[in-house]
């Protein structure tokens, strides 16, 4: 397939630091290969900015193959851009037209403050994880092989699907309420579905939801936007599972 190039206009959020007031800036970028990824296009823009002695645009990225959850970006009004089930690094410039104006903004949420340009602080997710998103394992002496416990295929698959959440925050970014319920429910589900996770299930869900509320995320109104925009296609079923788990724990936990 022959490679094509397009010329695009970009409107990108620039913000010096966490305390400064940012604004949308306009850039023009020519000769963008349609085979390049969105992040490669931003690299190309940064090269152009550096060559003209301007400050390059800060954006998060790491593996660039859709598994690390580092890249973010609200592109043309959607988290990770117009494509479905992909992260921004997997989004290709062939999805855009020649001469198109592309809006690039950081995730917008009180719990995700902008650090610089397009980079947001997602450590709220880490703190939710630390509140209960783990299984306590006694590591002194003989530890048991996890695979020694038989687990049904259907349950194992569901747990694995929940575990594919990369914690990118697209759910929060897409949600009109900036709610983190899809993320938290995936983390609750991946453990609640497995026998190893059952032991601490009640306290886990209580503690993780408590931390989620404290971080200042909004409340779920079941619009379903999160599941549509999720690059890993985490299902709303997980939110229902979390609701069940929490209800059980709220009524029955010590």
């Amino acid at each position: 397939m022959a490679s094509k190039t397009i010329n695009i206009n970009l409107k990108i959020w620039r913000q010096k630091n966490v305390n400064s007031k940012g604004s949308m800036e306009t850039y023009k970028l020519d000769n963008v290969s349609t085979d390049s990824s969105f992040l490669e296009m931003l690299d190309q823009l940064n090269e152009q900015l550096v060559n003209s002695r301007q400050e390059p645009i800060a954006f998060d990225h790491d593996c660039r193959e859709g598994i690390c959850g580092m890249c973010s970006l609200y592109i043309n009004g959607e988290a990770h851009g117009p494509d479905r089930a992909v992260t921004t690094c997997q989004l290709h410039m062939r999805k855009f037209k020649d001469g198109e104006t592309i809006y690039v903004e950081p995730w917008r949420a009180k719990a995700f403050p902008v650090i610089k340009d397009l980079v947001v602080d997602r450590s709220a997710f880490d703190r939710i994880q630390q509140a209960g998103g783990f299984v306590s394992v006694n590591t002194s002496g003989r530890t048991m092989d996890a695979n020694a416990i038989p687990i049904g295929k259907a349950e194992a698959d569901k747990a694995f699907e929940a575990a594919t959440c990369i914690g990118c925050g697209a759910c929060v970014a897409s949600c009109k309420n900036a709610s983190a319920m899809l993320f938290v429910s995936a983390k609750v589900s991946q453990l609640a579905l497995l026998p190893q996770g059952q032991v601490e299930a009640q306290q886990r869900v209580l503690n993780m939801v408590k931390q989620m509320d404290e971080e200042g995320f909004g409340n779920c109104t079941n619009t379903g936007a999160c599941a549509v925009e999720c690059p890993k296609e985490i299902s709303l079923e997980n939110i229902a599972r979390m609701n069940r788990e929490y209800l059980k724990a709220m009524v029955a936990a010590d």
């Binding site: 043309n76 917008r108 319920m181 200042g216 409340n219 609701n243």
Partner: protein
């Protein structure tokens, strides 16, 4: 160890929204079945049926309990809902410069708070127009089934029994519960209190301790007058057309609220299962269309038959 927070945690608030929402959905069914009597039965029979029904609703102890649960549900649903809406707004202090929410979610689901607020305003006007009038403030005409009473008198000279039919052409209105009512004496043109109301709806002749008829508070006429039909010489509402239009618009708003709210309440309670999701969604959408539509037809038909 964390406190569960039956009122404070985000998930607990969702449960309250879902439970009160589901209760109000069942309330709608009951309310609709009652209202439909306004158009399914006509004439004096319809008037009687509706007023008897209204009397039952106001005096049955189980209905009274349900009524208080309904008031609580409306208040809780509205208060928690508005609180959540404010919290959700705060969770995103800065909006996107360019946003396309239509690509990932339905409009009804995104405007639940606004739709709900409109419905709350509707409920307030609705209760002021019917509930308040009937329960507290204004006097409501009494629906008297017997428009005349027969008095028997013995002629002392001849021993003959004279039957005298006295038309009741003046009916006192009631306030609160039933009050004694009177008629205008044809000779003296004086108002005379002739009757007592006992056992709720039974009218008794004061002198003879005889049951002479039944009386109901005439909510039927209140409704008919409000939506433009004139009965019993009561003045009709000159804003009837506006009332009908606003009522129908409110039902459209309710339709959108239910379009998302019905299935959403199941999800909030964790009732999401492949086997049942289809039927829940279908029932929810069918309910959202049929129930508000039937509600809306009633005032339209009353207005058109005026």
């Amino acid at each position: 160890m964390s406190k569960s927070g039956i009122f404070t945690s985000s998930l607990a608030k969702k449960y309250w929204m879902a439970l009160t929402g589901l209760f109000l959905i069942t309330f709608l069914v009951g309310h609709l079945l009652g209202n439909l009597q306004l158009i399914t039965k006509t004439g004096e029979e319809g008037r009687r049926a509706f007023n008897e029904y209204a009397y039952f609703m106001g005096h049955n102890i189980f209905i009274k309990i349900l009524a208080y649960v309904t008031y609580f549900s409306i208040l809780a649903h509205a208060c928690i809902g508005l609180y959540l809406a404010v919290q959700n707004k705060k969770a995103r202090p800065q909006n996107y410069a360019y946003n396309r929410p239509g690509t990932n979610s339905g409009a009804a689901s995104r405007y639940m708070a606004i739709l709900g607020t409109i419905i709350l305003v509707f409920i307030c006007t609705h209760m002021a127009n019917f509930w308040y009038k009937q329960k507290v403030a204004e006097t409501v005409p009494l629906h008297v089934l017997h428009k005349e009473i027969t008095e028997e008198q013995q002629n002392p000279m001849t021993g003959q029994t004279i039957k005298q039919v006295i038309p009741i052409d003046y009916v006192l209105t009631t306030k609160g519960d039933y009050m004694p009512f009177a008629y205008v004496d044809p000779q003296s043109q004086q108002k005379m209190e002739l009757m007592d109301v006992k056992e709720g709806t039974h009218l008794y002749d004061k002198k003879a301790e005889l049951q002479v008829g039944e009386g109901y508070r005439d909510l039927h006429t209140v409704v008919m007058n409000f939506f433009g039909q004139s009965e019993q010489g009561q003045p009709t509402n000159e804003w009837a057309l506006v009332a009908v239009i606003l009522y129908v618009v409110s039902m459209f708003v309710l339709m959108f609220h239910l379009w998302h709210g019905f299935a959403s309440s199941f999800q909030s309670l964790g009732l999401n299962h492949k086997k049942y999701n289809g039927i829940i969604t279908f029932t929810g959408k069918a309910f959202a269309i049929v129930v508000p539509l039937l509600f809306a037809i009633i005032p339209v038909m009353i207005y058109l038959n005026r």
